[in-house]
């Protein structure tokens, strides 16, 4: 058994095996779609394909209702129409495996030995969740690859490429904007310390702090990332107008989905949707998310992968809308964090089981509401608060057991 495990986690076996598993799932999905009433392919894949079809006819992808993504995705999937329907899924599973490779390279650069790095990235490559999500036709793996690519380039100090990938990531989905602060803090010029024995004056410290943001590297990053984002936004606005801005960005920013979802705020927002105080409540719901993002960015910006992981987990857990697709956003960063955790396997598995238990306690009343017609709103609300508490507990365990490697132990950049 141990021999099998060690063979499987040899990188020359792991990457091809994970690709083959995903291809097998895509093939099975095609069979299930053709023969069974319950379809394997996600509805989102049909939305992408319909939008791509509009593009092939020279029309706007936003003619497809519920297409709320960048036109870039529909453009990428036009071979679904010209070649074959399964092209998109192949692209997504390739990005999935690429994400595994990026995790491996990043871990090696952060000073891990190859064996540990392979074990860690097998947590992504052999994980059924991203396998299932990509083979069903969700595009989350493209974003995972972009975010991991940004982190790898940052780790390797290739800032130009990091900025390009970051600009592209923010264009595709809004949430990577939460990485802007930790990236900015990590690219600041090192602050000149006060001379021995001389207490630094507060105003001098403040000026030095602000001045540290005017570093050449940070400005370069900002200009390139901002340039890429602006160029893409301007191009697509010119091509598709206001619907592009609304569906890709504003809809997600102002979205008030009152239907049941994992968010702890769901029931509060449903009950107050039409009341006068709903704007203030929306702001009150945004505050914990904002405060935590600022604190996490400040506390851990020296370990960028960890800061980004925490930022994403906080963003998802405290968001006004939370669906299971969002979990992948921080799951792809977890393999970068796990090798530095001083947790035993038993403790790790315990936390994982706790996370699943929290989800199960929410899914049960949600099923009874949606498919059996029971009024379980209060139970769902309580389960949502419990799930938030479980997520916070797990994050606290991760934070208290995290042992970052000191910078001097990192190997030289190749």
């Amino acid at each position: 058994m141990e021999k099998l495990l060690s063979q499987l986690t040899d990188k020359h076996v792991l990457f091809p095996a994970s690709l083959l598993l995903r291809l097998a799932l895509v093939a099975y999905g095609d069979y299930q779609d053709r023969t069974m009433a319950v379809k394997y392919t996600d509805i989102d894949y049909h939305v992408f394909t319909d939008a791509a079809r509009f593009i092939t006819k020279g029309e706007s992808p936003y003619n497809r209702s519920t297409y709320r993504y960048t036109p870039l995705l529909a453009w990428l999937l036009t071979p679904n129409i010209y070649l074959c329907m399964v092209f998109g899924k192949i692209l997504f599973i390739l990005c999935d495996v690429l994400s595994g490779l990026l995790i491996y390279r990043t871990l090696c650069l952060r000073g891990l030995d190859r064996k540990t790095a392979t074990y860690a990235c097998s947590l992504w490559l052999l994980n059924p969740l991203p396998m299932g999500v990509s083979s069903r036709g969700n595009a989350e793996s493209i974003l995972a690859a972009l975010v991991l690519g940004t982190l790898l380039c940052m780790e390797a100090r290739r800032l130009g490429w990091a900025a390009v990938l970051y600009g592209l990531a923010v264009h595709m989905k809004i949430y990577p904007i939460t990485y802007a602060l930790p990236i900015a803090l990590s690219l600041r010029a090192p602050e000149a310390g006060a001379a021995e024995g001389e207490p630094a004056r507060t105003w001098k410290k403040r000026v030095a702090f602000i001045a540290s943001f005017l570093s050449r590297e940070l400005i370069l990053f900002g200009v390139v990332a901002g340039g890429v984002f602006s160029a893409l936004t301007a191009t697509f606005y010119y091509m598709y107008g206001w619907p592009f801005l609304h569906e890709t960005y504003f809809y997600h920013l102002t979205r008030r989905d009152i239907r049941h979802n994992f968010s702890p705020y769901f029931y509060m927002l449903y009950l107050t949707a039409d009341s006068r105080g709903s704007q203030w409540l929306g702001l009150a719901a945004f505050l914990p998310q904002l405060i935590l993002l600022l604190v996490a960015s400040w506390s851990f910006h020296r370990d960028l992968a960890f800061a980004c992981f925490l930022n994403t987990a906080i963003f998802v857990s405290f968001n006004k809308v939370c669906t299971s697709q969002y979990f992948l956003w921080y799951l792809c960063l977890l393999p970068l964090v796990i090798p530095h955790l001083a947790l035993s396997v038993k403790q790790g598995l315990g936390l994982l089981l706790l996370w699943f238990a929290g989800q199960a306690l929410w899914l049960a009343p949600a099923y009874f509401l949606e498919f059996e017609g029971y009024n379980t709103f209060v139970v769902i609300w309580l389960a949502g608060l419990l799930f938030l508490s479980v997520n916070c507990f797990i994050l606290i365990q991760i934070i208290t057991h995290y042992k970052p490697k000191p910078p001097s132990q990192r190997p030289k950049v190749q």
Binding site: I43, H46, S65, T66, D257, I258, R259, P264, Y265, Y267, M268, Y270, L271, T272, A273, D274, S275, L281, A284, A285, L287, P288, I291, L292, V295, A296, W298, S299, F300, R302, D303, F306, L310, I314, F318, L369, E370, F371, E372, G373, Y374, N375, T376, F377, V378, W381, L385, L388, S389, C392, L395, I396, I399, T400, Y402, P404
Partner: protein, 245 residues
């Protein structure tokens, strides 16, 4: 010459009378088909995702002799998913036309009812019985401030509309029983259809959908904000304690 003209006129009149008699007969038959028909509704499945089955019983010959249209007037509390309906096209014995775009996410009080035109194909359990099953989904409703845990959404049985090429002069019918509706599912033209004359009180059926408890709003808001603030403060404390300098 006048005699020949007279003879032609008499022949034409006779043809017209015969045609009119023919048409009268077909229109009477249409009327009989409508009056003897019954439409009943039943629901299956539970929760927010239901199936609505309409069973139409007609006189034998009606299905082959006339075009049938079922006109559903849906309330704002439910919706149909156009993409789901499109994917069911191959397996269903009907084709459907919607009168407006459907927003799948709006709550019931922010949208209005809509019409669907269902054109059944002639395959039913028996030659004179049609069964049409349509999947519908419940919308979220406004929370109740009166302590009610469910709201009722009333759905009327569809109106049965018939038309036939052999009865084109619909002035024989009262105007309130003649409707304009699309001729076919492709919606390229509009035709006049006839609906049942003896209209009893339409028997509506209700489906129950859960609603939120508006009277507990303060408790829910207070509880939510309290727990989220506690989590926020606790997490911030640990992050600041373990920050990497």
């Amino acid at each position: 010459m006048y005699f020949q003209l007279f003879f032609v006129l008499v022949c034409l009149c006779k043809c017209n009378c015969l045609n009119q008699e023919d048409e009268q007969e077909h229109c009477d038959e249409l009327k009989r088909w409508l009056e003897s028909s019954t439409v009943s509704l039943e629901f299956s499945k539970k929760g927010f995702h239901r199936e609505v089955t309409a069973t139409v019983e007609l006189r034998p010959g009606a299905l082959s002799g006339a075009s049938v249209l079922l006109l559903y007037r849906w309330p704002s509390g439910v919706f149909v998913d156009p993409y789901q309906l499109a994917s069911l096209r191959d397996q269903s014995n009907w084709e459907i036309l919607l009168d407006s775009a459907i927003d799948l996410e709006l709550p019931a009080h922010k949208t209005s009812g809509f019409l669907t035109y269902v054109f059944p194909s002639n395959t039913g359990p028996a030659p004179s019985v049609l069964q049409v099953t349509i999947p519908v989904h419940g919308r979220y409703h406004e929370p109740s401030f009166a302590g009610e845990t469910f709201t009722s959404v009333h759905i009327e049985p569809p109106e049965l509309l018939l038309r036939t090429e052999k009865c084109t002069d619909l002035h024989r019918f009262e105007s309130r029983f003649v409707l304009d509706a699309p001729c076919t599912v492709s919606n390229s033209s509009t035709c006049s259809w006839v609906k049942k004359t003896l209209q009893q009180e339409p028997s509506t059926m209700g489906i129950l959908l859960p609603v939120g408890d508006g009277s507990a709003t303060k408790l829910i808001c207070g509880g939510t904000l309290l727990v989220t603030m506690i989590c926020c403060v606790t997490l911030s404390k640990y992050m600041l304690e373990r920050r990497i300098i």
